[in-house]
């Protein structure tokens, strides 16, 4: 079954729009927190960079220099704390191990899919440069990134599927989580799952059909994934190429990415992108604000917006 070309074209337009809305929406959301008035100091120790805090001591002549040996690094220390937290969910591992596995699967799955998009971009650029990109490419770089694309995409997709299902079940089974979850929390998980499962089903169907037709060999399996001028990842790369060159003609002859199920997947994915900035799921980027601008914000002598009409009753300071 094929879909008319204009549908594919509309779909492409939708992808651009959704991508833009997602980026702009997320930045706007973050901007709202970053531009919010300077709140009162409410830091929470340990603060990985200690510079500003020690400045409090350094502005006191009697103590000046006395604590120099305890200075810590700046942003580097923050990243050292932040990165493992983002990648491995350290706090969940330490304090709430029961949900850690599924939570990690979902979050790291999402990171992998983000990396996968970047890989597709690299695939497309490499191909533009004239290097053949597919699993058994004679060019080692072409072969390397093709394999990386295959592994990242498949592991990422399955991880998200497993993670969302697991978390959904936990939400239902764990008293604390069930009682406190709203309809939206379930909806978000189900939404992510639906986006991912449509793609996974489409991929599996394509690969299965290909192997039924050509025989169950390893080579055929790989060809169905990322072969030379065929396969699901090949088509994904071509679609990326079409997107970055604004050239829908690059989609000509592709059967997988223009199949109804994959179009449904793409539309769902776009809807997800449109929904994301307005959902609770922005907590990823928002986490930067809550750590960097709240918990680790120990800057001394910063003034709050004293002229505001605080609480609607008094001006804390008349100016």
């Amino acid at each position: 079954m094929t879909v008319p070309a204009y549908v594919v074209g509309i779909c492409m337009g939708f992808i651009y729009a959704a991508f833009l809305v997602c980026i702009i929406g997320t930045l706007a959301k973050l901007g709202r927190y970053i531009r919010a008035p300077t709140h009162l100091r409410w830091e929470l120790y340990p603060v990985p960079h200690e510079k500003a805090y020690f400045a409090v001591r350094d502005e006191i002549p009697m103590l000046r220099g006395s604590f120099a040996q305890f200075y810590h690094g700046g942003l580097a220390e923050e990243l050292k704390e932040m990165l493992p937290e983002m990648l491995f969910l350290v706090r969940v591992f330490r304090y709430r191990r029961r949900i850690w596995f599924f939570s990690l699967a979902m979050h790291d799955g999402i990171y992998l899919i983000l990396a996968w998009f970047v890989l597709l971009l690299i695939d497309a650029i490499t191909r533009l440069a004239g290097i053949p990109v597919y699993a058994f490419s004679p060019n080692p770089w072409g072969a390397f990134i093709a394999w990386l694309t295959i592994i990242t995409g498949i592991v990422g997709g399955f991880a998200i599927a497993v993670g969302t299902v697991g978390l959904f079940i936990f939400r239902l089974a764990d008293r604390g989580m069930r009682e406190y979850a709203t309809f939206r929390e379930y909806f978000n998980l189900a939404f992510i799952f639906t986006v991912v499962i449509t793609a996974l089903v489409a991929v599996c169907t394509y690969v299965w059909n290909y192997m039924c037709a050509n025989g169950f060999t390893f080579k055929n399996l790989v060809d169905a994934l990322f072969g030379n001028h065929q396969g699901v990842f090949y088509e994904a790369m071509m679609q990326m190429l079409a997107l970055i060159t604004f050239d829908p003609s690059k989609l000509a002859g592709l059967t997988f990415v223009t199949s109804p199920l994959m179009l449904a997947h793409q539309i769902l994915f776009c809807l997800f992108l449109l929904y994301y900035p307005f959902s609770k799921m922005v907590h990823g980027p928002a986490k930067y604000v809550s750590y960097h601008l709240v918990n680790w914000d120990d800057k001394p002598h910063q003034e709050g917006p004293l002229h505001y009409n605080y609480w609607g009753i008094i001006k804390i300071k008349e100016r």
Partner: protein
């Protein structure tokens, strides 16, 4: 841990209906259970609303006239709106809105909360419970689906605001010590302790509902008389004379304690409670600073001799007013810095309030633990650790450690004044310590039957930790010292040692840090007596 958790909830006095049932508002009881429970309480509690969990911190009346209910309801909703307004609530909008919008209810924070755990995991003490209630009320009144009856359950927009719920939520905001341990555990860096504070703020700034120990007898009295203890400047000066006398008697030193001396390096402000309950603490500071040659002065101006600033727990306006006074007095005395005594929340309050003080009115400030550490590291004293030859453990005040960044300093000090084998850490300690149970004002709040709640729930984990830290020396012949460089922690320790009989059974007592330091100064007679009263 779980068997002990059970035990706590089985202690006599635990209200019935411990299972989570929201038949009567948001509390523990069903209607029948509450009626029965009310029949068992003493007459003084008959007219007090105990419907949250059988206890009362605020003493709100059982019966609220309909006009009052209507007024409360309106004010509550308008206050809730203000909390979510970046301008009207600029002081805490950013941290609050992040928690409000992004708490994923993953419940990691619940594993951190000593009150929730000590209660045997009673639902109403779960860190996210307060936020949940608040949001259900918000959804009910401020969203489109909250207006459609059959969607309310599904969307969890199902809490109707009435006088009962308002009273229970007000009480509920006084069931968290704002220790912010939960915030340290939260994978998203969100803060349920702050939510508690903001709810108290809503009640205080909008409805005029607050704990009288914090407001009428607290900040209001402090601003009016000079101290939340009711101490007047005259009384303060008398106490200073008494301290000089005490120092002479104990050590033979003739020390004149500097008061209102302009141009000193530091303006030292103690929690005024020290002068009344633990005078050896300010006396020890007088000795230490004299011998170490630290230039400082006390102030006898109202508010200048009391470091407390209860506003940090419940009200931004009071927080500002008290902090402003502290900075004003420091500028008048032309000191180089304000020095906060052994009082945890005073340190947090000055850190927090700094940003409401305009730059030109600000004076640098620091903490006595930092200065004592400095004195010791510069080797200004002749110290003999063997003077403190008894088991010592250190309780980190949440406000100094997790909320104030001072963790290494007291440890360096203790290592210098206590024999190494006598010092033991509690587990966990430092940034991860458990609150003593007196946080957020609980240490000074003793209304109705609230003390019982505090002892059973808020202080339980501390007691457990203290006993574990001393487990190899529990014998009655060995006196033991819980060092807590914070007035409120000391108040709570005093109560819990009495309640759990730790002195009679195990000879465990408590005190500040400077007492240990002065006791170790080899040039003067021993200063410390290990007693409990």
């Amino acid at each position: 841990m779980s068997s002990e958790e059970k035990k706590v909830s089985e202690l006599p006095g635990t209200p019935p209906g411990a299972k989570r049932r929201r038949v009567l508002g948001i509390g523990l009881f069903t209607e029948d259970e509450y009626v029965k429970y009310k029949q068992t309480v003493p007459p003084t509690l008959k007219d007090v609303d105990l419907s949250l969990d059988g206890y009362s911190a605020l003493g709100l009346p059982e019966n609220v006239p309909p006009e009052k209910e209507k007024e409360w309801k309106e004010k509550f909703l308008s206050g809730l709106k203000k909390l979510l307004d970046p301008e009207k609530n600029w002081t805490f909008y950013r941290p609050f809105i992040l928690t409000w919008e992004y708490c994923a209810r993953c419940q990691t924070c619940a594993e951190a909360c000593p009150i929730y755990l000590a209660s045997g995991k009673k639902e109403i003490y779960r860190p996210t419970y307060r936020l949940e209630i608040l949001q259900r009320i918000y959804r009910r009144y401020f969203t489109w689906y909250g207006k459609i009856p059959f969607l309310r359950k599904l969307m969890k927009a199902d809490i109707e605001l009435d006088a009962r719920v308002i009273k229970q939520l007000a009480e509920l905001s006084y069931r968290c010590t704002q220790c912010r341990r939960c915030a340290l555990y939260c994978p998203l860096g969100l803060d349920q302790g702050l939510v508690d504070r903001e709810i108290r703020k809503l009640f205080s700034q909008e409805l005029g509902i607050h704990a009288k120990e914090l407001h009428e007898l607290g900040t209001e009295q402090q601003l009016r008389v000079g101290s939340s203890t009711g101490m007047t400047p005259k009384a303060f000066l008398k106490i200073v004379k008494f301290l000089e006398e005490m120092i002479r008697e104990k050590t033979g030193l003739n020390i004149k304690i500097p008061v209102d001396e302009k141009g000193a390096d530091y303006l030292l402000i103690h929690n005024a409670g020290e002068y009344l309950s633990w005078p050896e603490n300010p006396a020890a500071f007088a000795i230490l600073f004299e011998l170490a040659g630290v230039s400082y002065t006390l102030s006898s101006e109202p508010v200048g001799y009391d470091a407390v600033n209860y506003g940090v727990w419940y009200n931004d306006i009071q927080l500002y007013k008290v902090a402003k006074k502290h900075f004003e007095i420091a500028r008048k005395l032309e000191v180089k810095a304000i020095l906060i005594g052994e009082c945890g929340h005073a340190w947090k309050a000055i850190l927090t309030a700094e940003r409401v003080i305009p730059k030109e009115e600000r004076v640098p400030f620091t903490d006595v633990l930092i200065v004592m550490d400095d004195i010791i590291r510069r080797k200004k004293l002749n110290l003999d650790p063997n003077r403190n030859n008894f088991p010592v453990t250190l309780h980190d005040p949440c406000n100094k450690a997790r909320k104030g960044g001072i963790v290494e300093e007291p440890r360096r000090i203790i290592r210098a004044v206590v024999p190494e084998e006598q010092f033991r850490e509690m587990e966990p300690h430092g940034y991860y310590n458990y609150c003593c149970g007196g946080g957020s004002g609980f240490a000074i709040m003793h209304p109705y039957n609230f003390d019982e709640w505090k002892m059973k729930y808020a202080s339980y984990y501390k007691v457990k930790q203290i006993l574990e830290a001393f487990k190899d020396v529990l014998h009655k012949d060995v006196p033991k010292y819980v060092c807590a460089p914070c007035s409120n922690c000391k108040g709570e320790l005093r109560d819990m040692i009495a309640y759990y009989g730790l002195w009679e059974k195990y000879k465990i007592t408590y005190g500040g840090l400077v007492e240990l330091v002065v006791n170790a100064i080899a040039d003067i007679p021993p200063f410390l007596e290990l007693e409990f009263h």
